[in-house]
């Protein structure tokens, strides 16, 4: 294949990766930014989203688009509710202590993963895309659904940004992130904000998973890669920075797509990890993060 089409294919693949990664990493970034909790179970909320999407589409049947739309609404709500319960039962009781919550979320990771194995099983199960349109380019064919994932993710990111910067909820969240004690002194119900943010973070991961599941499949181990990549993105972009998360996701996704296509996927991972090391050494707060006070 010639260089031009090859690069186009690489860029498209990279954009799909970026789109899903941005949503997942944003969830992780929000939780850390506002609550200072490193949520190691984030990838499992992603996995739960995909598994629930399979369950919902299977239960509904009929036209694939019907089940998919239902999954897009219901799966994140269930995952959000679960996250809320986990936050109330576990994280709150640990007083959001940074070390304790890391250990607790590692525990949650295993519990969720093994419950999925027990009740859903070890198989990878497919979800039918809402539409299967194949875009025919002169050099190769490409999935129309993949392009729509990029668009949907961009819309969702925009919506999250609007909520964070233009609404009262966003204001309250930002205030809590900036200084939770002062926020509490001003009458902001910090406990409820924490619960809401943790649920929102999990829901973003679940939405990303529902979007990706017609491309890949629902599998109980699928949360591991997104977790690792999300951490990379969040460290590079700066914890708690929406803009940084999106930029870093596009950077990592595109470099992954292009480097792994022209060289090797292993090299792409090496470079991403090297980038993380560089950022940690030269700009520990991340590209767009603000230095901690």
């Amino acid at each position: 294949m010639h260089f031009g089409p090859h690069l186009l294919l690489a860029a498209l693949e990279g954009l799909v990766t970026s789109a899903v990664l941005a949503l997942t990493a944003l969830g992780l970034s929000l939780v850390f930014g506002v609550m200072r909790v490193v949520n190691v179970a984030h990838g499992e909320f992603f996995m739960l989203g995909a598994v629930l999407a399979w369950a919902i589409t299977t239960a509904i049947g009929g036209h694939p688009a019907l089940g998919f739309l239902a999954a897009l609404v219901i799966a994140p709500l269930i995952v959000g509710a679960l996250a809320l319960v986990a936050e109330r039962l576990v994280l709150r009781r640990l007083n959001y202590n940074p070390e304790a919550t890391i250990v607790a979320t590692i525990g949650m990771l295993y519990i969720i993963q093994q419950l999925a194995l027990t009740f859903y099983g070890p198989e990878a199960r497919p979800v039918e895309p809402p539409f299967s349109y194949r875009i025919l380019l002169p050099w190769f064919g490409y999935s129309g659904y993949k392009l729509s994932v990029i668009a949907a993710s961009a819309l969702l990111l925009l919506a999250t940004w609007l909520v964070l910067t233009r609404t009262k909820i966003g204001l309250v969240m930002r205030a809590t992130q900036y200084d939770s004690e002062t926020a509490q002194a001003f009458g902001i119900p910090v406990g409820r904000v924490y619960g809401g943010v943790f649920a929102l973070g999990a829901m973003l991961a679940a939405i990303a998973a529902v979007l990706i599941v017609p491309i890949s499949q629902a599998h109980y181990l699928m949360g591991q890669d997104p977790l690792l990549l999300s951490f990379i993105v969040v460290i590079i972009g700066g914890l708690g920075s929406l803009r940084g998360t999106v930029v870093a996701a596009v950077l990592i996704g595109m470099s992954d797509g292009i480097i792994s296509m022209f060289f090797s996927p292993t090299l792409a991972k090496i470079i991403a990890t090297l980038l993380v090391a560089m950022v940690l050494v030269f700009r520990p707060q991340g590209l767009f993060g603000t230095a901690s006070r």
Partner: protein, 434 residues
């Protein structure tokens, strides 16, 4: 942390001399109690313990589940017919997480803790390779159902056997003539980047060359990969056949993306069903496979010419005509491989009977008795077909099926002969000390 409850305060929990004596007396009493020594007095009545190293979790979990079902069915049949040497068979399952390190630990656990007579049942090649040294060190006969060439390569040790399923080198060699004659001469290989894939990487090119065909590109894919479109530009345009072996949960994505990439204008496809074991061939996105060909060890779908033994085996394991669990059409089996568990257990039975096996002290005799076996006739004990066994390389050789995807089913279109897959032995395990 303050020790508020005094857990660590020895003055409160120290043993008195009297309690210590009581405990000792109770312990001594237990060991002489009649129930405790039941088996050591009457060895013939104790069950034969088979340690099953199962992929219950990890990427092999779907295989593990069906290997367990097949094993349970075989053990039930063996026990109903009187067991082995008049003793019942008991299976003890340990999960290896489809992980080589854990696999070695599991073998050690079977040897020292469960004290099983043999270890059995491993599929994934990296787990077999990782566990084999532990089996050798513990002098524990280790019967794998793995398909890889590692046993027959004689790179493992004298305690490792693969008597129930043909190895990849032999499979490839026996199918290469069909591929070259029916699919095409210019072949691009896509294989997973670990041991099992390397067998395909190393043995397909010479096998095809012998048939006047050639491998023009080899694409290795990391086993954890979840997206494949980025590899497809490496497939040369003149490719006539894509030979794909992709084990892992992402295989549906692989097929779907291949479909999107090529559309209806695709090269011929020849694959190992390994990729699609436990997966419904009618899953969304797999329409692209229609008309393509697969290797199958044992056919998933019931065939018109199935033997009575094959029918009885399918009924015993509980799979329907579509190769799915009876009563749950969505629960598709790993039919192409799991027959190996059934057949291996019958080989173990035969070898134990030949050796007059009584207990772990006879393990060396069991190894020699297994090595003395030469052939297994087709029948209820070997429903997949007849096999020969080479005791020097601990490997069996059977027939292979090439099936075509037609109307949402797999139909066997070619069966190889045992002779097609025989090759020069690369070594001799029997020269190793026991």
């Amino acid at each position: 942390m303050a020790d508020r409850n005094g857990f660590f305060d020895l003055s409160k929990t120290a043993l008195t001399r009297r309690t210590a004596l009581k405990g000792l007396a109770a312990g001594a009493g237990l060991t002489v109690a009649p129930g405790f020594v039941r088996y050591s007095q009457a060895q013939s009545s104790a069950p034969i313990k088979i340690g099953f190293q199962s992929h219950r979790t990890g990427i092999g979990a779907a295989y593990g589940r069906w290997y367990e079902k097949t094993t349970a069915a075989a053990v039930k049949a063996i026990n109903a017919a009187g067991g082995i040497n008049g003793r019942q068979v008991e299976v003890i399952i340990e999960d290896d997480g489809t992980d080589p390190g854990r696999g070695a630990e599991v073998v050690g656990k079977f040897a020292t803790q469960h004290k099983t007579d043999i270890v059995f049942g491993t599929l994934f090649s990296h787990v077999v390779i990782g566990s084999a040294p532990a089996a050798g060190e513990n002098k524990m006969p280790y019967f794998v159902v793995s398909e890889g060439h590692h046993v027959a390569s004689t790179k493992l040790n004298r305690y490792v056997f693969q008597p129930g399923i043909t190895d990849v080198k032999s499979q490839i060699q026996s199918m290469a003539p069909w591929i070259a004659a029916n699919a095409g001469k210019k072949v691009t290989q896509i294989f997973p980047d670990f041991a099992f894939g390397y067998d395909h990487r190393d043995y397909l090119p010479p096998a095809l060359k012998a048939q006047g065909a050639e491998v023009i590109a080899q694409i290795a894919i990391p086993p954890t990969e979840s997206s494949f479109t980025k590899y497809f530009p490496q497939i040369p345009a003149e490719t006539e056949v894509i030979y794909h072996v992709m084990v892992g949960p992402a295989v549906l994505t692989f097929v779907k993306e291949l479909g999107e990439f090529y559309g209806s204008n695709r090269p011929q496809l020849f694959g190992f069903i390994d990729s699609l074991e436990a997966t419904d061939i009618n899953s969304p996105g797999l329409e692209f496979l229609d008309g393509s060909h697969f290797w199958e060890g044992s056919p998933r779908y019931a065939q018109a010419d199935d033997s009575e033994a094959q029918k009885a085996y399918r009924a015993a394991v509980g799979i329907d005509d579509n190769g799915a669990a009876v009563g749950d059409p969505k629960d598709v089996s790993t039919a192409a491989h799991m027959f190996g568990c059934w057949e291996t257990l019958y080989v173990v039975k035969k070898a134990m009977e030949d050796a007059g096996y009584k207990g772990p002290e006879d393990r060396a005799k069991l190894v020699e008795a297994t090595e003395a076996l030469t052939a297994f006739a087709e029948g209820p004990e070997h429903p997949q077909g007849p096999k020969t066994f080479n005791g020097k390389i601990h490997q069996c050789f059977g027939i292979q099926n090439i099936s075509k995807v037609e109307g949402g089913k797999l139909k066997v279109v070619h069966k190889t002969k045992i002779e097609d897959g025989l090759y020069e032995a690369e070594g001799d395990y029997t020269t190793q000390a026991l």
